[in-house]
């Protein structure tokens, strides 16, 4: 897929937004967001801004706190500190249901479809708030029931057609192939009519051709619905291919933000993913907040990270990084 890298414009509080949306209010903004699990800061000083039409990526090694971010944004966890602004509103005191109705939708790392319901009903659960008829009308099948259900049925077909899955409406969700289940989860999230779509590892378990199709579909979804997408993904081809802004997490802290090429050339990021070789890593390149005593020797996580590192690894070590500046004047 041919791509044009979006130019990012710096925002206050070390955030960046795509140039086209620079003057718009971010759909999502977090300030000093953090959560402690029994004294351990699983996430700390998490500041990001996402513009209303941006595709943003959240990456980082296993256990970095990526899914924790999603769980905080959707109020599955309550933050220990910090603020989440969604669509300009402070979400303090809002529940998952409120947020879903306000326009935040998500998918899950381990697929959580309603397995015993068919594809159509799964999507209709997502449409719950937009279908309007009462309990009596539903049980007695009054005209309002038929009218609303017809609208819902059409909406279901429309949404399924984005991913060319119209022929699967009556299949049980649990019986679908893995890739189709992942797509259905995205469709179910889209059914809630979101302004912001959070995708937790949408390409996990997909083969390369499915992933390529998914990339096109995510861009298509953003273009059609004009919504923001934040995705967590280990497949670097996907992340580098469609994300405009990327935020890298490690040990619960942001270690880098920037465009795909900036991230690919950022030594701190490479170190977080691959570990550090002493001769490649002069002392002065280390970012503030990194524990100097730790040397990561764990391998990269997916084959894709591996490939990416093999491609980019050697020559990016001397690339320029925005990271240092950002940390120097930021925190």
């Amino acid at each position: 897929m041919a791509r044009v890298e979006t130019k990012l414009v710096p925002q206050p509080a070390t955030n960046y937004l795509p140039e086209r949306d620079a003057d718009k209010q971010p759909i999502l903004e977090t300030r000093n967001l953090g959560i402690d699990f029994g004294g351990l800061a699983a996430l700390d000083s998490f500041d990001i801004a996402v513009s209303p039409t941006e595709i943003a990526g959240l990456i980082g090694p296993n256990g970095a706190g990526k899914t924790t971010v999603f769980n905080l944004l959707t109020k599955v966890y309550q933050p220990t500190r910090g603020t989440i602004l969604f669509d300009g509103r402070d979400t303090l005191g809002m529940s998952s249901v409120h947020l879903s109705r306000a326009g935040m939708a998500r998918t899950f790392q381990n697929i959580r479809l309603f397995n015993n319901m068919n594809v159509e009903d799964n999507i209709k659960v997502g449409l719950h708030k937009s279908i309007k008829y009462g309990m009596v009308a539903g049980t007695l099948r009054l005209p309002s029931y038929w009218k609303q259900e017809k609208i819902a049925h059409e909406r279901v077909r429309e949404l399924l057609s984005i991913f060319s899955m119209e022929h699967l409406t009556q299949h049980r969700a649990g019986s679908l192939p893995y890739g189709a289940q992942r797509r259905l989860e995205i469709i179910r999230a889209l059914a809630t009519d979101p302004k912001l779509l959070l995708l937790d590892e949408p390409a996990a378990g997909m083969n390369p051709s499915e992933t390529a199709e998914l990339m096109e579909n995510i861009v298509k979804v953003r273009d059609t619905f004009q919504i923001a997408v934040v995705l967590i993904e280990h497949d670097m081809n996907l992340v580098m291919g469609i994300c405009e802004g990327i935020c890298v997490l490690n040990f619960g802290k942001i270690i880098a933000k920037g465009t795909p090429s900036e991230i690919q050339n950022n030594p701190v990021v490479i170190e977080a993913y691959l570990g550090r070789r002493e001769e490649d890593h002069p002392e002065d390149e280390r970012a503030e907040g990194e524990d100097p005593g730790v040397t990561y020797v764990e391998g990269p996580e997916g084959h894709s990270t591996d490939e990416w590192a093999a491609d980019k690894g050697p020559e990016v070590m001397h690339g320029e990084g925005r990271e240092e500046d950002h940390h120097a004047d930021g925190d």
Binding site: T74, V76, S95, S96, V97, S100, R101, A105, R106, F108, R112, L113, F114, N115, N116, M117, D121, K124, V125, G126, L127, H128, K129, I131, Y133, M135, G138, T139, R141, Y145, Q148, E149, A152, R188, A189, A191, T192
Partner: protein, 293 residues
């Protein structure tokens, strides 16, 4: 001919069990808890209807609707006060609370209405319907029970399979977290299930007391336990399972009474439960779900 009449009274008793079992199974399906106070909600429903009909001389239909409203309110209140605070508590704590609520209702009824049995008037009249040249007589209450059971089953299947609230219920029973993140208010949905189950309990209580007219504060407990057995028998969590389990249990009980021993009929019912649990732990229509550890 006696076989046929036993079969009909079995099905009619079974229909009442089935209606009660629906309450158990729906609550279990969504809240994953056994609401042992359900049997006593039946008793409250029967008392409400009894007082409205015999003291205030209101027509049957008003009594039934009012009893349903009382039970709906009672069911939702019990859920709010006793079970909702324990949503995150271990299953055992909720189970014990449910047993506590059951005894609370029985003893409150004892205080309010004393232990003197009330004679419940039949809501369907006493003229039996004679068939096959007078050889087979069917009580109108039996017919009413079977008819109510069929209507309820059809309506409920419709409701859960194709309305938005029904889908919300099924979604919550599968994955509350995911349902919540799709914009479904889980608390409202659980309350709704308690409301439906309790309204059905009122109907069951009135039908039960029409067929067996002695009403005391403990009237609901034995049918409650048997309906629970029926729900497990059919596969707890499954609506058609509760129906099949209830009707089979009613037939077994009546046949046991008629052909084996009147005293042992309850023992036979529970023997069936034990055998089913040994052979098919998930019940007739139940799904064997692997528990995640």
């Amino acid at each position: 001919m006696s076989f046929l009449s036993h079969l009909i009274s079995g099905i009619s008793l079974g229909s009442i069990y089935a209606i009660i079992a629906l309450g158990y199974t729906m609550v279990y399906g969504i809240a994953k808890m056994l609401n042992f106070a359900h049997g006593d909600v039946i008793m409250v429903g029967a008392y409400s209807c009894f007082f409205l009909m015999s003291r205030f001389h209101l027509p049957v239909i008003v009594g039934v609707v009012a009893a349903m409203l009382v039970c709906t309110l009672l069911g939702v209140t019990i859920e709010r006060l006793a079970y909702k605070p324990l949503r995150a508590a271990p299953a055992l704590a909720v189970l014990i609370t449910a047993i506590g609520v059951s005894y609370f209702l029985q003893n409150a009824a004892l205080l309010l209405w004393t232990s003197n049995p009330k004679v419940f008037p039949s809501i369907a009249g006493n003229t039996s319907i004679k068939l096959l040249g007078g050889q087979l007589s069917i009580s109108p209450t039996a017919l009413l029970s079977i008819a109510s059971c069929i209507v309820i089953m059809v309506a409920l299947t419709w409701f859960t399979s194709s309305t938005r609230m029904g889908k919300a219920m099924r979604a919550c029973s599968e994955d509350k977290g995911a349902a919540q993140l799709m914009g479904i208010n889980v608390n409202v949905t659980i309350s709704m299930v308690f409301a439906i189950g309790s309204a059905l309990a009122a109907i069951a209580g009135i039908l039960l007391c029409s067929a067996y007219p002695t009403l005391t504060p403990t009237t609901g407990s034995m049918p409650g336990i048997k309906a629970f057995t029926a729900a497990v028998f059919g596969g707890i969590g499954s609506i058609p399972g509760a129906m099949i389990g209830g009707i089979l249990l009613g037939i077994i009980e009546i046949f046991g009474k008629a052909y084996i021993s009147t005293q042992l009929s309850d023992a036979i019912v529970f023997l069936v439960l034990i055998i089913v649990l040994l052979v098919r732990p998930a019940g007739i229509l139940g799904k064997t779900v692997q528990e995640k550890v």
